[in-house]
Symmetry: C2
Subunit: 218 residues, 2 copies
Amino acid sequence: MERHFDEQLTVLKHTLIKMSALSEAMISDAIRALCERDTSAIPRIREHEDQVNRLQIEIDGICLRLIALYQPTAGDLRFILGAVKTNGDLERMADLAINICEEAERLLENPLPGALTGIQEMAALASLMVKESLHAYVNRAVEQARVVLLRDDRLDDMKRHITADMTSLMQKDPGVIKQALDILLVARNLERIGDHATNIAENTIFVVKGLDIRHHRE
Amino acid sequence: MERHFDEQLTVLKHTLIKMSALSEAMISDAIRALCERDTSAIPRIREHEDQVNRLQIEIDGICLRLIALYQPTAGDLRFILGAVKTNGDLERMADLAINICEEAERLLENPLPGALTGIQEMAALASLMVKESLHAYVNRAVEQARVVLLRDDRLDDMKRHITADMTSLMQKDPGVIKQALDILLVARNLERIGDHATNIAENTIFVVKGLDIRHHRE
């Protein structure tokens, strides 16, 4: 019984990692479409979205079966409930990557109003947070989870910076309002991806310490 | 044992309803601050946020204990896992109300660039969706959940309409770019509140039918 439980728990972890890798790929493909004005990756983003949606249903099913069949308690039960939440966060990240993809498609219709270095930096940081938060979660690695929480403050700063830049650009040149607005939305979507990585990092600390640090950041 | 389980399940439902009522109050107070330019409700919004955060932790604890102590199966287990998700959605709604509150505070610094009828209509619809989705969830009422799913399409249309209006306003009068941008963000936050109500409605159908309709809308 215990061996079966451990096997199923390993399946759960692998499925979460697979889902997170797909969400990361979607983010980087959407940013490539935007920054390199290369639409070739867009059909792949849509395929990945379908896979993410299927995995989301699969993961909820695994969690439900694990609880119903093995009645786990304490840390294992917290891990499985945390996986239900993490699953939701990963799916939301994929949705946000789709938003970025749509903004990229609109932005391809006109020349860009300026360099997108800030967006590329934000995307790199957000992707790193996704990878690290998932790694922290499946390995119950509290220290790595804390690193993610710190990175989120930096990501928020970057978003504020881009928002200010785009607002003043719009004021100077109303001809680029539509494009600047879309870039601003890309930055907001990246910030929200970081928020979901932060949720996963907080779940990690809850699973390991049995301690709820949401709304009580050290 | 069964009686205790039912009692605890009732506590869970009441706590979810309490949390949802707080989120609804936060939304309507934030919209009042914005549309009636009345800041008196802002301290109450912050108090409600603290209460929502405490309830979120409490609800996760109730769910964890219900599973660990009573090993529920089938519909009851799905209800409790769904409550963990619904809890996350309600907390996110309260966060979005805080965003609207911050946008309202910024908008109070300058005259409004026009009437906010569209925003008030969106807010009324989003609040209705919150109430209905929670009611559907705790009563396992599938038909009411389906109504929420339909309303979400209307809410998205309203947001698109406001986005188009604000974009053309900015293009005509660059002097109101900042304000128009904030109104646009309010509309997006209301749209996202509707998305969370939609998640709760989908959870309802999953709990009752054991059927996952996410990504397979009828």
